[in-house]
């Protein structure tokens, strides 16, 4: 079975960073630090030049990575170079998938992309600008290569669309906690419970993202019923500090802060699960 497995026993911590941010070498270390901190799945961003769904934090990460020479092919090399055990999900925008040319077969498009991803061990995809309606070709390729296609459901997703996504989703469902774009917030949306309720009967794990910043957030989200938490901007903020010449944060310290933040979030999630068990004993 696919990514569902990592949500089976305990709440999963799903961190996001952009591959190659701020450099190829540093980024390898950072991803590994996240695993050490307790990551259960890592959403590894393949940067696209027009990140329309991202807030400024991830937008700037994308720019750093692209300026460092990141390309889809180099991204796959990056994955091969990574020394991690946890499953990896490729998070990107559809044009990079549509344009992809497999270096050996010369095939282009979603199937070529999924094949190459499979070759380097990627287990799933989140494609930000690919709604279920347009996902046919990629869904087929995922099935062929036994990969998961994760969909995001938004607070506005209702009715028929919800059903259509339920049919197409696999691995886990990415529950967007609030409207808007990615970015760490000081509060966690009240919409979370309502959003979770809408996918209550889905048979995939529910991972909640958008705005989670602290262990305390993580605890609240998981205690509200989430099977996992997705955190991007709060981690990328740390990477950004390391890349900022105005902030005195050596490379090793950045990796340590990432690991510590990951641990805080994972522990928050675990605490949330305990609280949920205490409040609603099975």
């Amino acid at each position: 079975m696919g990514l569902e497995r990592v949500f089976a026993d305990e709440p999963a911590f799903v961190p996001y960073v952009a591959a190659g941010d701020p450099t190829y070498e540093e980024s390898l270390e950072y991803v590994e630090a996240l695993e050490r901190g307790g990551a259960d799945v890592i959403e590894l961003g393949l940067p696209f030049s027009e990140p329309i769904a991202e807030g400024s934090t991830i937008q700037e990460a994308v720019v750093r990575s692209l300026e460092g020479g990141m390309t889809p092919e180099r991204y796959f090399e990056f994955v091969e170079d990574l020394d991690v055990e946890v499953p990896l999900v490729c998070m990107t925008y559809y044009n990079l998938i549509a344009q992809y040319t497999h270096p050996e077969t010369g095939e282009t498009g979603p199937r070529a992309f999924a094949r190459r991803a499979d070759e380097v061990g990627i287990e799933g995809f989140v494609v930000v600008d690919l709604p279920a309606e347009e996902a046919g070709p990629l869904r087929a390729a995922c099935d062929e290569f036994d990969q998961d296609l994760v969909f995001i459901i938004a607070p506005t997703t209702k009715g028929e669309r919800l059903e259509r996504m339920q049919e197409n989703v696999s691995g886990y469902v990415y529950v967007q906690a609030r409207l808007g774009v990615t970015g760490a917030r000081d509060d966690v949306s009240d919409q979370t419970e309502e959003s979770l309720a809408r996918v209550d009967d889905w048979d995939v794990p529910k991972a909640v993202g958008f705005g989670i910043k602290t262990g305390e957030h993580a605890e609240r989200i998981v205690s509200a019923g989430a099977d996992g938490i997705i955190v991007g901007s709060a981690l990328v903020d740390i990477v950004a500090d390391g890349a900022d010449p105005d902030v005195d944060q050596p490379f090793a310290e950045t990796a340590q802060r990432l690991e510590a933040k990951a641990r805080e979030l994972k522990e928050g999630a675990l605490a949330g699960a305990e609280r949920a068990a205490a409040e609603h004993p099975d």
């Binding site: 769904a53 991202e54 044009n95 506005t156 409207l179 774009v181």
Partner: protein
């Protein structure tokens, strides 16, 4: 939702419900004229916008080219460009949909000013995203938007130009989608935008087709329109598409060269139809200026309004089908055409529009005996650019600007 293989709805999930709501509203109000929407739209286009606009016989050009040349005068629309046709339609539609707020992005400022005017006219709060660099370059348009009561939000990310402003507007919309309508300014974006914007702009060819028959008793041999995103293009072509004997020319910005520099990600042109590859950008599959990895390239044109890496999906489809000819002219040719139309016809065209006249100059003997050129906008907004770009070049038709230089030297700065 698609035009052949082009189009579609490639947007984040959070926007999909709004897109579906819009699709429904488009079908009911625009296609079915529910609650008399289209009647009100057309009445306001007439009373507020000044339609119908003339199809003018261009006497000097007709003589120059030994071809009957007619100008469709969208430059006379309120605001100075065809943009209001769409902005008025969408702001009115937002009102019918019960939305409380409008957002839009603008690069050169033409769509922003049209939207701000329409929003003021219809008493709808309006926020316009605009890159910081563009705010500096397009000061008069920023001023007009503010004067019309719009909020202007400067976008400071990236190079501070159109593509960053589009991303920022998408972000706003993703956050406020329940109460807000995003007025997209061209026949781009996810369905139903390309079709809807085309329908609002189609009044251009609807009028022109009637007028040309009234004036000449026949259909034209060719229709020319400049193409950036393609809204004036589709507007000028739509009602001629079924007239198989009418050739349709979409004239793109050839910039300084059709070559691209993969290394730096720069295309020194905006000729997506002529040189672009199929891809997905801003919600639709279409022809794009992109590198071999699928990253979008920085486009360039002397005309800010054509400076866009994508193009409307329907136009891409019509080009693939062979129904529309995708052609282009370079910056020099557009500038010369700008001066020629101004001097010979007394019509100062937008630099965007000038590209269509550049093609007319270069290929008039291939266009038949009766040509319509869509004058998509007026050139008042381009005066400073034209002054600067003309001085860099040695153009045959440029006027002597020493009076202005002398005046500037003695202290003038507008």
């Amino acid at each position: 939702k698609t035009f052949g293989e082009y189009g579609g709805q490639f947007v984040p999930e959070s926007l999909m419900p709004a897109i579906e709501e819009l699709t429904d509203a488009y079908e009911r109000y625009v296609l079915d004229n529910e609650d008399g929407f289209m009647d009100e739209f057309r009445r306001r286009l007439a009373d507020f916008g000044g339609r119908p606009l003339p199809l003018q016989h261009a006497e000097s050009l007709s003589e120059r080219y030994d071809t009957e040349v007619y100008l469709k005068r969208e430059d006379l629309l309120h605001g100075g460009a065809h943009k209001l046709n769409n902005a008025l339609g969408q702001v009115l539609l937002a009102k019918y949909m019960g939305k409380e707020r409008i957002v839009a992005e603008t690069g050169a400022g033409q769509h922003g000013t049209a939207t701000a005017m329409a929003a003021a006219h219809l008493d709808m709060p309006c926020e316009i995203y605009m890159g910081e660099t563009d705010i500096r370059r397009q000061r008069p348009n920023v001023f007009r938007m503010k004067i019309n009561g719009a909020e202007i939000t400067p976008v400071t990310t990236g190079r501070g130009t159109l593509k960053e402003a589009i991303s920022e507007t998408m972000r706003d919309w993703a956050t406020t989608v329940e109460t807000t309508h995003y007025v997209i300014g061209s026949v781009v974006g996810p369905a139903p935008f390309p079709r809807m914007v085309r329908d609002f702009q189609a009044v251009i060819s609807e009028e022109a087709r009637e007028q040309v028959q009234e004036k000449t008793g026949r259909l034209p041999d060719s229709v020319l329109a400049c193409a950036g995103g393609g809204s004036n293009t589709m507007g000028a072509f739509h009602h001629f598409v079924d007239d198989e004997d009418v050739s349709l020319y979409a004239v793109e910005a050839g910039g300084s060269s059709l070559d691209v520099d993969e290394e730096t990600g720069v295309a020194p042109n905006s000729a997506s139809l002529s040189t672009g590859e199929e891809g997905v950008l801003h919600g639709a599959r279409t022809k794009l200026l992109q590198d071999s990895h699928g990253q979008i390239m920085e486009s360039h044109s002397v005309s800010a309004g054509l400076d866009y890496a994508g193009v409307g999906p329907e136009l891409a489809h019509l080009v693939d089908e062979g129904r529309v000819d995708a052609v282009n002219v370079d910056d020099d040719s557009a500038l010369e055409a700008f001066h020629r139309l101004s001097q010979d016809e007394g019509v100062i065209p937008a630099l965007e529009t000038a590209h269509a006249f550049g093609y007319l100059e270069e290929h008039h003997d291939e266009l038949g005996d009766l040509v319509i050129v869509n004058v998509s906008g007026r050139g008042d907004k381009d005066l400073e650019t034209v002054l600067e770009e003309t001085e860099k070049r040695d153009l045959d038709v440029a006027p002597d600007m020493s009076v202005l230089r002398a005046a500037a030297g003695s202290g003038g700065d507008i």
